[in-house]
């Protein structure tokens, strides 16, 4: 090897944390290359926020080696703090200050100087669509505006690593889309993103790599596609109008699981156009026409179910 591998933005080994008797993180390993989006996915109570709190130096780990931006979080927390921006559940805005004052407070704490601070604040207000609300108190902000202000505050110091702890929880679909766009723009600017979410769809949309956290353990890690490949393939669901057609279809295809009550046949397959056409041609040759056809490709809900043995608590919510 001629070049050393680049320093990962975030690296953790055997990270453990418990609150009293309650074990929250049970030895997790993380490796997030710079400039990528990493998503920690899991239901409520899985330990996502605790992980972010440790990585962002807010609380200490019980054991494990944690380095962020190349610095040890326990030994050199200020160097870590200088490199990161934090936004999310535990982070917040000052309710008794206006949006602009909140951002100016951050600019002052980053010692940006008056002119540079004002310039940066004006730019962020513009970018996050908060110009109209800049003079309103934080307490008067709507949920979506608050999240945007919160994220903007985390960006005043121009961090290279941004922690987003459930940035869209509780937001309406439109605000969620706009938050996603903001995150994509950050990624385009070369920022490393550590995102926690309980929405499978969100991790799928944004993340380069996803780690599934369940009861303090990482149960899987990979790209969205890799995770989907971990589970048995998809299937094609054919629905017929009478029981005779169902039986004929199973006989002709030589495979498939019939449900005589629902009048359906479930045929394994990836749902590709070519295999679908072949399937329909064989039925057509026998003069059988399905009433309905549905292609089911595995989604992250299936992944979660397969990996943890229980559905994600909010699977229903994520499939909107």
């Amino acid at each position: 090897m001629t070049t050393a591998p680049p320093t990962p933005a975030i690296a953790a080994t055997a990270l453990r944390k418990s609150y009293g008797d309650h074990l929250v993180l049970d030895g997790i390993d993380l490796d997030v290359p710079a400039g990528t989006v990493f998503s920690l996915l899991g239901p409520n109570g899985a330990g996502k926020t605790t992980a972010v709190k440790i990585l962002s130096t807010l609380i200490g780990a019980d054991s494990g080696d944690v380095r962020v931006a190349g610095h040890d979080v326990a030994r050199d927390p200020d160097a870590v703090r200088a490199a990161i921006g934090v936004t999310g559940q535990f982070s917040a805005v000052d309710n008794l200050l206006t949006g602009r004052e909140n951002l100016m407070l951050m600019a002052d704490l980053h010692h940006l100087g008056r002119d540079e601070g004002r310039r940066r604040v004006a730019d962020l207000l513009e970018r996050f669509d908060l110009v109209g609300a800049a003079g309103k108190l934080g307490s008067a902000y709507s949920g979506g505006m608050r999240r945007r202000l919160d994220l903007a505050m985390g960006l005043v110091g121009d961090p290279r690593i941004v922690f987003l702890d459930e940035p869209t929880t509780g937001l309406d679909p439109r605000s969620r889309r706009s938050m996603w766009q903001i995150i994509r723009d950050l990624v385009d600017g070369g920022v490393t993103i550590f995102l926690t979410t309980q929405y499978l769809e969100e991790a799928d949309e944004l993340a380069d790599r996803i780690a599934v956290l369940d009861h303090g353990r990482l149960v899987a890690e990979g790209t969205a596609d890799e995770l989907k490949r971990l589970i048995p393939g998809g299937h094609v669901l054919l629905r017929f109008t009478d029981i005779g057609a169902v039986e004929s279809a199973v006989r002709i295809l030589g495979t498939g699981v019939a449900d005589t009550a629902a009048l359906t046949v479930q045929v394994p397959g990836d749902g590709g156009v070519r295999s679908l056409k072949a399937l329909l041609d064989r039925l057509d040759d026998a003069s059988i026409t399905p009433e309905e056809l549905a292609v089911h490709t595995p989604d992250l809900d299936d992944v979660f179910l397969t990996l943890t043995g229980h559905p994600s608590d909010d699977a229903k919510e994520a499939v909107r």
């Binding site: 944390k17 609150y19 709190k53 962002s56 130096t57 807010l58 609380i59 200490g60 200020d78 160097a79 703090r81 200088a82 990161i84 934090v86 559940q89 535990f90 982070s91 917040a92 805005v93 000052d94 309710n95 008794l96 200050l97 004052e101 407070l105 002052d108 704490l109 980053h110 010692h111 108190l137 505050m153 985390g154 110091g157």
Partner: protein
Amino acid sequence: MTALSATLTDAATMSRRQLRHMVRYPSLTLMLIGQPILFLLLFVYVFGGTLGAGLGGAAGGRGEYLNYVVPGILLMAAASVSMGTAVSVAMDMTEGVVARFRTMAIARSSVLTGHVVGSMIQAMLSMAVVIGVALLIGFRPSAGPGAWVAAVGMFALLCFALTWLTVAMGLVSESVETASNMPMPLVLLPFLGSGFVPTDSMPAGIRWFAEYQPFTPVMETLRGLLMGTPIGGSGVLAVAWCLAIALGGYLWARALYNRDPSK
């Protein structure tokens, strides 16, 4: 930027934040300043005639009692402001924005310094209002300019000490309610000292406590500076008490703020 100037800059930033909070939420400040005024009027107009007669001075009565009671009311004002400090620190700690500050590379204790500066401003405002009202209703101090400066300095030093102590109380409280109850003894201390009646009129046990508790030398010093009564050793004792309380409060508060919030 050197470490010291960075610390000062962050402290100034947090102080501005605190001032904005006071402007946005003025009812707390008004209540803190109003409370000692209420007690001033109560003691002078309701109890003052009788208590003044007991002072045994030449003038006697309400006017003499007013001159006697002002230092006690000032300490009440200081205690009242520090109670507000504990409450606002405890409230602040429940806000997520403090968690944000903890994840930023800023001078660690600047949030607390901001609270202390804010409270000091409230305290000086409160002193001005108490003295102003007292003068309006007939308070006639004999202090010259030098003694006035010294009295203001003494009061500021006391408030500085109490504020660091109550910042720590605000941090150690699990809830805002606890934070408002914990400094309550401070409001009572002027009564169990030379604030409202001379200590030599008290029974032996209470009198012993009253003479040795920290507020008494401070009140005696203020009284001496404002009214020209003998100060004796009270001045040195008062300054020593204030420095000790300030240092203890500061170290306690710093240790509390620096502890791991998950522990």
